[in-house]
């Protein structure tokens, strides 16, 4: 497969690992922001290849993990509405709300909940089922939100009146800023999310170097990409040089995809958002603009669910912010497992706890 196989070449990987060992001196803490990077790192066993001086910490870049219980409860409430077909990405099916998961409710109550690969699939279901109302669980960061925006835009153009979304989308830069404002973290650099950056552009991360004087490299997702990004970060740190660099040059540019972002900002606007395990991060969420308000499922169906407080002794908050590692949580592997997840980090397949549990500590 072109543009994939070349970046899985063991020869390149081994050479970069050698170079990293050669230049690494200082103890360094790097955060991979994106959950997909967390999984990729575990899947290729990168941690075990790095020198002990380099510590990789998983960040909160998992839109599934950080979806608050209340939003899942809203989703279930929607799915229970008469004549509603509830559509969602597979990722969201096993996230626990206060009443259970979408997967369990589907089985227990016979709700019409369907997994889709794309918001376009949900749109098609709406077109094919004019007598029903289709609600789409709109989750994701800037990689996914433009796709959802384009779909809403399409629905608007076609005058579709039975298609709605439950928007729980969030944006990444405010979260990175919140992490940098957490003094105890002591992060030296960031492996930035490659596909979010395809949309928002590398310029969006300038503040990391300019204001906070930390290093940032935007990385692709193949093992060679990630290793090359780590090499670039270590090089910057050893040379005391804080910059934003792009490793994923074949896909990321400084300006990003202006067309896609234009569509996104036409359909959505910023709002405050609650990140499960972290708390409210100002201006980090997205809601529909007035022009597209009629697609908001919560407004249309009058969904009102009680606010839920997450009262477990789960350490996800600390884990998501890189302050603790999964095995340090008392619940990890005992009460909290992928089959019975307590907190968000174990729920999503790319949550730190889930990845740690499934792929092993030595990565």
């Amino acid at each position: 497969m072109r543009f994939i196989d070349e970046f899985r070449e063991s020869e390149y990987a081994k050479a970069i690992v050698d170079k990293i060992h050669y230049i690494s001196r200082k103890n360094v803490k790097l955060m991979e922001v994106c959950g997909t990077h967390t999984v990729a790192i575990f899947k290729s066993g990168i941690r075990g290849l790095l020198p002990a001086a380099i510590k990789l910490i998983s960040g909160p870049g998992c839109p599934v993990c950080v979806t608050p219980m209340t939003d899942i409860d809203k989703a279930i409430a929607l799915a229970r509405q008469k004549d509603v077909i509830f559509t969602t990405f597979g990722d969201m099916m096993r996230v626990p709300g206060s009443l259970g998961t979408l997967q369990k409710k589907k089985a227990d109550e016979g709700l019409d909940i369907r997994i889709v690969y794309s918001p376009l699939d949900a749109l098609k279901i709406a077109r094919d089922n004019k007598d029903k109302k289709v609600a789409f669980f709109s989750a994701g960061f800037e990689t996914t939100t433009p796709a959802i925006a384009a779909t809403v835009f399409q629905a608007h153009m076609d005058g579709l009146s039975n298609f709605f979304i439950l928007p729980v989308n969030k944006t990444v830069p405010p979260a990175i800023k919140a992490l940098l404002d957490t003094a105890e973290l002591g992060l030296d650099g960031f492996i930035c999310p490659g596909h979010v950056s395809v949309l928002i552009g590398s310029n969006a991360y300038k503040f990391i170097a300019e204001k906070y004087k930390r290093s940032a490299v935007i990385s692709g997702f193949e093992p060679v990409d990630i290793l090359l990004s780590i090499y670039m970060l270590i090089k910057q740190i050893e040379e005391k040089d804080a910059r934003v660099e792009i490793e994923y040059k074949r896909a990321v540019t400084p300006e990003g995809n202006k067309k896609a972002m234009g569509i996104m900002w036409d359909v959505f606007e910023p709002c405050d958002a609650d990140w499960r395990g972290i708390g409210v991060i100002p201006e980090s969420g997205l809601r529909l603009t007035k022009k597209y308000e009629m697609f908001d499922a919560v407004k249309h169906f009058g969904i009102n669910v009680p606010a839920v407080e997450d009262k477990t002794s789960c350490n996800c908050g600390d884990i998501l912010r890189g302050l603790k590692e999964p095995p340090e949580c008392r619940l990890f592997g005992k009460v909290c497992t992928p089959e019975n997840p307590v907190g968000p980090c174990m729920v999503s397949e790319e949550g730190s706890c889930s990845a740690y549990y499934r792929f092993g500590a030595n990565g």
Binding site: M1, K14, G45, F89, D91, G140, L227, G360
Partner: protein, 333 residues
């Protein structure tokens, strides 16, 4: 031709008609023709006995249908003990309204599969339930086979140093079944790999009887079976990413859907744990068989990390492989 009615399952005239007109012509053999409630035969050997129910949806998919799985699945479960499959039973639960044309197509496939595997269906049963009480058609097959060689093939019998062999490329059945649902198409169509593996196992046993474990990686895929082996035998298993055969089309489909081929179901593959000195001979014998052409040695059984399966990645790293928890769902993250 019409649809299945409740009366077809009630034992009366319509039931008899159904059996005489459809089941008997396809499953013709001296046992069934007696139309007794049981089949009677002698067995002078160690016996293997298995049962499985088949509820796959969709019932027709690229490369086969539920009938193929029903025969091959049970033939394979017997073969995985080193048994020669002989006699099968077939029980059908049909949903009222099921098109008889589709039943016929399934029966024809079952006949073809049974002929290829050299097994006969000696007894059977058909019930019909009200519409909505079953999903189109469910099939149960049980099977009896005989073990003629001095073998002890079992998941708890892996020995340290054994080589792990896979009989061919992984992930084809699972992807084939998902094709229609996920709107995927292929340059070269992915067909289910459903196949009877008894002749392959017979060839392997002719090359060497030092085969310690055999299993077909159906639900849960290669990863789940290896984990079961590791736990059952209390050994460690190491496999090598670059040795595992995966067709391009399956890789591509898995990339698009966010699936891992290690966890995708197969219906015509087997995994063997073989005494190391015999591994090359067994591999050679496999590659001569129609269903083992792409067989590969993918790893070995280790003394360390008991109960744990480790994958050595292409780039030289290590990753722990666990069994599948729940279903693999298509992801965007």
């Amino acid at each position: 031709m019409g649809k299945i009615l409740l009366a077809h399952g009630s034992g009366g005239k319509l039931s008899h008609e159904l059996i005489e007109k459809y089941f008997l012509p396809y499953f013709k053999n001296p046992f069934l023709e007696l139309l007794n409630d049981q089949a009677v035969f002698d067995v002078h050997s160690r016996v293997a006995f298995t049962t499985d129910s088949y509820v796959v949806d969709p019932i027709f998919f690229p490369g086969g249908n539920i009938g193929d799985l029903a025969i091959n699945g049970t033939v394979n479960d017997l073969s995985m003990a080193g048994a020669k499959p002989l006699y099968l039973s077939a029980g059908f639960i049909l949903e009222e309204g099921f098109p008889i044309k589709e039943l016929e197509e399934i029966l024809a496939s079952m006949k073809k599969a049974a002929d290829e595997a050299s097994v006969i269906i000696v007894t059977g049963d058909t019930k019909v339930v009200n519409k909505g009480k079953a999903d189109k058609i469910f099939i149960n097959t049980s099977g009896i086979g005989i073990i003629e060689k001095p073998v002890n093939i079992s998941a708890n019998n892996l020995k340290i140093g054994d080589k792990i062999i896979i009989s061919g490329a992984i992930g084809e059945h699972g992807i084939a079944v998902m094709t229609k649902r996920e709107g995927l198409e292929f340059k070269k169509e992915i067909k289910s790999d459903t196949a009877p593996l008894n002749s392959l196992v017979a060839d392997m046993l002719s090359a060497s009887t030092d085969i310690h474990a055999l299993r077909d990686p159906t639900r849960g895929g290669l990863a789940t079976i290896l984990k079961e082996f590791a736990i059952s035998s209390n050994v460690g298993i190491v496999i090598y990413e670059d040795k595992i055969p995966v067709k391009d089309e399956v890789s591509g489909a898995c990339e698009i859907l966010g699936l891992d081929p290690l966890f995708v179901a197969n219906e015509g593959r087997l995994i063997a744990s073989v005494f190391p000195e015999s591994a090359e001979a067994v591999l050679k014998a496999m590659r001569k068989n129609k269903y083992g052409r792409d067989a590969e040695i993918i790893g070995e059984v280790a003394a360390e990390h008991k109960g744990v399966v480790i994958l050595k990645t292409r780039i030289g790293g290590k990753r722990v492989i666990d069994m599948l928890m729940g279903e693999q769902l298509p992801r965007i993250c």
